[in-house]
Symmetry: C2
Subunit: 530 residues, 2 copies
């Protein structure tokens, strides 16, 4: 038996396109001799439609698409993912199902363990299933299992029914610190069963799906693997289940973050029907990396930069930016904000009478820049890319409605120390486009004379170390201090993180590359005092 792993990039709610992809891929696989074609979780509508599942007409379109696929692919056995109506009297009206379609007949296996922590809340839409059964294709018994059911007791229930192998359809959001493939390998070994996983690829707003669908033999060794971060179609012969297979390889973190952000940005533009981007280029490392990522993902002709110096900008800021633009060969404007800044001072002079210049005046510069970028965006339709990084987002070293403007944040889940690694990676792999001076100079917001980030914040390696303990590893202040970080610094950092929750509430969507990205899934009450 030959099984096709169909790793596709679905567009949520774009039923026509999803159906077309599924049908044409099934036909292609059939032509190549496949006996079964497997698609990923909720493939008919794209994962995860969230609140759209509460709309009756959305669910009707899901069902119509399933019917269309059944009709068009009567001669091709396949497994697809779709919402399935709960015919019972109790609970949510839908299940999250794997559908086995063969000769026009449909058998289903529904998901039991619905994720509700972190970024996704399937409990809101789906009823959990407690029925477990195998499907049969030409005498071969297959355990279909949806999502993370494969990692827990539902897999045990299915294994008891003695299948010949496991087909796991999934949509696992990418994070560089989630070793999902390792877990799948262990499941295969534990149950002594070959395991075929088909994962979604592509990005939906902030969530990125790596793809990298994979097949393990019963020893947990790799016998087939789809590409990461792109569509792919691979085949597994059941006779290869007995082959020795290969060790699972570990991806390079910086490379995979680069690829994830590239896909995230590209898909955001493709799925929103956007073409051109704009960003503010400051001469610092963050905006330089964003420019490089954008030029790589969208094409240099689609990325416009705006330089907005004031009297506090160092001369090298503009020079370094121009040098980079010379290397990327992408378009730009220089719009000095010095006169606007002065005019703003005149406008505020009566209201501000008798006060000393301070944070308010610094923020005005950032907000004028935000307004200029948005004006350009409104005028020409270029989408504003946000250039904040995760370290800044965490401690609020940013201006709301200023440098926090943007439609999408590329680096909001990337710590500053990782931004530097991304810069080095880009210079090695995408042409040497970021000038060395941008990478080596001391970071500064340049909102007052001789300002440096390290005037207000601990050095970034310390800051990022503390943040990583607190955010990704959910450690308490005492636990972080016990790791050797200075107690006063830990308290200072955690206090900042808690205090600026209100800023993050209004931040743009952030491409998620870690297990703990900021964003709307982080449900911390703003008024809490803790």
């Amino acid at each position: 038996m030959k099984i096709a792993l169909a790793q596709l990039n679905y567009h949520i709610g774009n039923f026509e396109s999803n159906a077309e992809k599924i049908i044409s891929t099934a036909r292609k696989a059939k032509e190549n001799g496949a006996d079964l074609v497997v698609f990923s979780e909720l493939s008919v509508c794209g994962y995860c439609p969230c609140d759209l599942l509460e709309m009756a007409d959305f669910v009707a379109e899901c069902n119509a698409t399933v019917e269309k696929i059944i009709a068009e692919c009567a001669d091709i056995p396949m497994i697809i993912g779709a919402p399935l109506t709960n015919e019972g009297n109790h609970g949510k009206r839908l299940y999250n199902a794997a559908l086995f379609i063969s000769d026009g007949n449909v058998k289903s296996q529904c998901k039991t363990l619905l994720p509700n922590a972190n970024v996704l809340n399937e409990h809101r839409y789906f009823e959990a299933s407690d029925k477990f059964d195998l499907v049969n294709l030409n005498g071969v018994k297959i355990a279909m299992v949806v999502g993370n059911d494969v990692l827990d007791y539902p897999m045990g229930m299915l294994a008891k029914l003695e299948p010949d192998f496991i087909v796991n359809i999934s949509a696992v959001p990418y994070s560089h610190d989630n070793f999902h493939h390792q877990k799948l390998s262990e499941v295969a070994k534990k149950y002594k069963l070959p395991l075929l996983n088909v994962n979604q690829v592509g990005a939906n707003t902030n969530l990125i799906y790596e793809g990298r669908s994979i097949a393990f033999n019963e020893n947990g060794k790799v016998i087939a693997e789809c590409k990461s971060f792109e569509e792919d179609l691979q085949y597994v012969e059941t006779k290869s289940f007995k082959s020795e297979g290969e060790e699972l390889c570990k991806n390079d973190t910086t490379e995979s973050i680069f690829n994830a952000i590239t896909l995230g940005l590209r898909d955001y533009f493709a799925k929103m029907n956007f073409k051109t981007a704009v960003l503010g280029l400051s001469g610092g490392i963050d905006s330089a990396v964003v420019l490089a990522l954008a030029v790589n993902a969208l094409g240099r002709e689609n990325v416009h930069s705006i330089l907005m110096p004031t009297c506090y900008s160092s001369s090298h800021s503009v020079d370094d930016s121009l040098e980079m633009l010379n290397r990327t060969k992408s378009s730009y404007n220089i719009i000095p904000i010095e006169d606007l800044r002065k005019q703003f001072g005149i406008a505020m002079s009566e209201a501000f009478e008798g006060t000393k210049p301070g944070l308010a005046e610094e923020n005005i510069q950032a907000r004028l820049r935000g307004s200029i970028l948005m004006a350009y965006s409104n005028k020409f339709g270029n989408i504003l890319l946000n250039t904040s990084n995760k370290s800044e987002e965490a401690v609020g070293y940013s201006t709301l409605y200023g440098d926090m403007c943007g439609s999408l944040s590329l680096l909001g889940d990337v710590y500053k120390t990782e931004v530097y690694r991304l810069a080095r990676y880009i210079n090695e792999h995408c042409g040497n486009i970021i000038p060395e001076n941008i990478i080596t100079k001391a970071p500064s917001a340049e909102l007052r004379p001789d300002q440096k980030d390290q005037d207000s914040l601990p050095p970034y390696d310390i800051l990022d170390g503390i943040l990583n303990c607190y955010l990704e590893n959910n450690m308490t202040a005492d636990e972080i201090k016990a790791k050797g970080f200075d107690a006063e610094t830990v308290d200072f950092v955690l206090k900042l993180v808690k205090r600026v929750e209100y800023k993050r509430f209004q931040a743009p969507p952030i491409l998620r590359v870690s297990s703990c990205a900021f964003g709307h899934s982080q449900d911390v009450p703003l008024v809490a005092r803790y």
Copy 2:
């Protein structure tokens, strides 16, 4: 037996304050002869702490607070709400529990039906309980029931155990279209059991809790009722269970929205430790109502207005605003933005060369105003109040980083037609502070000559009618058209609502007064095409 209904306003995570409130109220009730004092759901930490429940030290503080209350109130039988550790090996590590504390002993009843739709997702933090038992106080059998368990089968399970009455501790977010008290009355009637409900009062960021704790006799008639929107302590004698009771009365919608927003604003400031507010006063109805609400909730000395006219502002805009400020006797600045607007035009002239003035230029005015308001806020610490209404939020008739700026949106869940009713209510009940001309003139954003809202949008009664069908009543386009709305208008409105999801993603927290407020609980994927 005399039972105290202790309706208090808790502050999430402020354990010292919450414990002090609970202990002093228990002592006061004891002095007044109470045999049992009942507090609301999760009273020790305040409802709902959400992600804070995932922090080990937060949970430790919850437990320490319970211990403190037990130690301090050994002689006062009480029911409190608290997270309870799940001692089992499976599932989430906490339950959402009612604790019956008597003579230093604790008995618990945990919540079964954990909300996960709409604004709250308790499944993320709590394990659902499947154990049902009564507690016994001096031979009287009491069914403790947490939250909406009272409305469904867990109540049935408890009723089978033949309690003498029901104590329901809850924290039900206010919405004018949720008739929760009616449902409680029906539960009492259905089981032929007296029902005592203690609800949380107060607001946490966007969620407002009405309080209005209530006791019903077994016929579903009211035998005691706490005040709405403030702390209260009422007593119920078990002998009054046999009294005839009174019909449940229905509150006036506009009055209750007014009171909800007032509490929401007041609590946001109190719990965030803010004192003074600032807003942009345009001469239109929305900002006038926000000024009136703020002056009423925070005191006229704590509310500062800024008027920011351009050449497109009508003369009556400034005059009407000044007339209103004369009536409220609150402070203001006039900061014309005409010179800034021109300077901005000069700054953009090269980049915008050859283009015609349009939306970009209109938005620049809104963003300059946003920047001025934020500058004032940064300088003096006044918190910026957002003045957008729900009709605008829905269709995106607003400028991101412009009039969408603010720390809190007071009217973001109030349709324009209801804003007018609020204005009339305010003039009747808070002194005649809104000039008649502000209420009667045609609404306009005044961003270009002779602009009127109705140039771009359907009349507000039509618009709000369609939005109400779609948002609060989850109707499809076809269903809305079948109600008699013009088909083209329905399609136009729904298209706008879907298209501007990205703007709402970055909106400030919105005080929720309906069952379908915009905000982070609305989990629609931005890139969806549907």
